[in-house]
Symmetry: C2
Subunit: 456 residues, 2 copies
């Protein structure tokens, strides 16, 4: 497919801003010709140099020397795009890089669109669409664990899983289509039974892959963890204690409302969006009621609620009511000010293993709380390098899964419909093909590569 | 000097933030050993690969694959630092680069200090101190012209100029010292005269080099251009017209006072800090008087004042008074609203070539105004690639120049003092040596390299 492209693209490939080195990347059939035109160094011109070598020299443009550079030479198909390609490493900062880029564009390249290098890598068949998506996930990764997951996907693990689903579905569709050549009497029942069994096995494989979405979603978007409880229960202190122990605070975002503050932190390699809320209590004050309404709204979106009970205050049935109201959510019950608990204050009604006692002052219980946050979010402990599916993959899998289920139903009818079942499988195949890019259309590619930065 | 370093340094060399590519740079005797330890790819281990080649593969650390990378191999002395060195090109974004850096540090490197790679390049003798300073100037360059000037300095033009001053001074000091072996009677007068003439020639070379400071200063810091004039003369409109025509607005900075607004723009490759001021007029209002005081303060720091006269209003002697008061500054007189000038309004007292008539509405005179700004700032038109001296160089040159002058005076006395004159020249030599780094001390290096970013 490589010969589709007759033009050569170029872009700054390093992040803008002050750095020691910047890299301008060029790909396409004219790459080496452009190198010959703008580069001067010792020895033979770039196009006569061996592949996978680099040279020190100077890039010159219309107004003289653009920068002192290192020129990297890639020969097709041994490059990111499988095309002829060069990379020009110059001084960091914007001015030098812009001078190099201008010289390259003046010599015949055009500015690349976002993700166009990776798009060419996909269209040349070097990587599939799942791997292309992993590239931008890796660049965007905010935590080590997210980077690991993206690397796993880049290496092709997810492609293998999807490939297996595709191949199995394809084989079953073919098997079904074969049965159509026979009359119902001729066909031994064992054949249909065998196909049905295989379809059920396939279904469960769909479910396994679908289950990785949750972890991937948390890795990409971060989990929303809300701290709730009565006013003065110690929610803000707990927020600070959680943040203060972990140096990986990413940024402090002002909440959408005056009453909720969102902080980002990393627990066990996972990004967590930690939100403090206005205290929950019945109120006749209009403003406070509005604040509490917002709190309930935040609670409804929470992946996890930490409900905090004031350990230094007498037991209040209000807390139990709130916990009952939250029964549909994933909740950790925590008792604050554990150093102040005595016979007059909070007493658990029964020895409750699931309650965590914390003292922000003594730093008691914070580590245990973090451990439970990870556990309750359904994240596996420790480093494990598993590719996870994205929202796009999930949508495709759900759709294909539905077709597989339909197909199974059509076969298990009192009068089986193998022709309809087979066409359902063909539909599932088309959907699955969109995941890896076996089947693609321009709009799909545009949607995927629009997420990329220029230069990748 | 290379063998002074037994440790290997590493740092992220690309700007932080989202980009397609990031580069981790490693330099020092253990570089190739570290590459062997953390890199896996096809073929022989990195240390067995040819210099100036790159390989595709994977970097692995304690917790598995850190990233898919391109590894560049430099063999001493053909590297930036003249040491063994590697560069590891990985995916952009922070997570992947940090994973690579961690693997490198775990394998035996230590994190580099700011500018430490360039410091090693200087200490190894690959570049002098002037060239090292050009590296950071190039990275910091905000305009093309600043980048050109830094490139010129990097190529050694300024080093040649300083070298010439040094060599000439050294030769003259030696000549003078030779005369000390003779009694006054033995020495032909022509010898002393010759030395005196050469000293005067040297002096003028100092002056030429010193004169490049002005342009360098403007390139590095930007020129402060202040728009002044009576209220309603059209100052803000002019500011907008100047900015609007030029897309290279860098940023809008709120002024230090409510009454002055600073905008950054680029004219003819030069960064200009354009400041609008409160209108100048006598006032009894306390707040307005305070604003005008600030305006006068801004005016006193201006590199250039554009004094704007309202062309649609009757001639006002106040404007002439203000222009008289500004006689010590570099001033451009401009008449606004030139489309409204008629017999009842502003009339130049005599055909005045130096006045520029502008109409922001008709966009008349703006280009000419820009041309005059550049001319009045003493900047040469068009692209010329000249290295310019910095504040540090200027200080050294002034000090050495003073010693040359003293030396000349000592020789031209009725009783010449060649011994004292020679020792003055030796002082000048020491000062000049500090510019290129022939003579250096730890504090000097620390001051220079502290300006660098990590990774350069």
């Amino acid at each position: 497919m490589n010969d589709v492209y007759t033009d050569t693209i170029a872009a700054l490939a390093t992040a803008p801003g002050e750095g020691a080195i910047s890299v301008v990347r060029v790909s396409g059939p004219q790459s080496l010709m452009i190198a010959d035109r703008i580069f001067s160094g010792k020895g033979a011109p770039p196009s006569q140099q061996p592949a996978n070598s680099f040279k020190h020299g100077f890039v010159s443009g219309a107004d003289g020397v653009a920068d002192e550079v290192i020129l990297l030479l890639y020969h097709a198909p041994h490059s990111y795009t499988r095309e002829e390609a060069i990379e020009i490493q110059g001084h960091g900062g914007s001015a030098a890089a812009q001078r190099i880029l201008r010289a390259v564009l003046d010599a015949g390249a055009r500015l690349a669109e976002p993700g166009e290098f990776t798009k060419r890598a996909f269209l040349s068949g070097r990587i599939d669409l799942l791997q292309a998506e992993a590239v931008i996930d890796l660049i965007r990764a905010r935590t080590d664990r997210a980077a690991q997951s993206a690397l796993e996907q880049l290496s092709g693990t997810l492609s293998l899983s999807f490939g297996h689903l595709y191949d199995t579905t394809l084989a079953l569709a073919a098997d079904l289509e074969t049965t159509l050549d026979f009359s119902e009497d001729e066909l031994p029942e064992s054949v249909t039974n065998d196909i049905e069994a295989k379809l059920k096995q396939l279904e469960s494989e769909f479910k396994t892959l679908l289950s990785s979405w949750h972890e991937g979603h948390l890795l990409r978007e971060g989990a929303l963890v809300v701290i709730a409880g009565k006013p003065n229960a110690g929610k803000s202190t707990l927020l600070n204690a959680l943040l203060g122990k972990d140096r990986a605070i990413v940024t402090s975002l002002p909440g959408t409302t005056r009453d909720t503050i969102e902080e980002q932190m990393v627990i066990n390699g996972f990004p967590v969006r930690l939100t403090d809320t206005a205290g929950l209590r019945e109120s006749t004050c209009e403003i406070e009621t509005a604040g509490i309404r917002r709190t309930r709204d935040t609670l409804s979106h929470a992946e996890l609620v930490i409900y905090l009970i004031d350990g230094s205050a007498p037991r209040d049935p209000y807390d139990s009511d709130q916990l009952t109201a939250l029964h549909k959510k994933s909740v950790i019950t925590a008792v604050s000010k554990s150093d102040l608990i005595n016979n007059d204050t909070y007493q658990p009604s029964a020895p409750d293993q699931s309650v965590i006692y914390i003292s922000a002052i003594k730093n008691d219980g914070i580590t245990e709380l973090k451990r439970q946050i990870i556990a309750k979010l359904g994240i596996h402990e420790g480093a494990h390098h598993q590719a996870t599916i994205s929202e796009r993959h999930r949508r495709l899998l759900i759709s294909a899964h539905k077709d597989i289920l339909e197909s199974t139903l059509l076969l298990s009818r009192s009068t089986p419909e193998p022709a309809l079942a087979a066409s359902r499988l063909r539909l599932a195949l088309e959907t699955l093909g969109e995941a890896t890019g076996r089947i693609y259309h321009e709009e799909l590619l545009n949607n995927i590569f629009a997420r990329f930065c220029i230069g990748k």
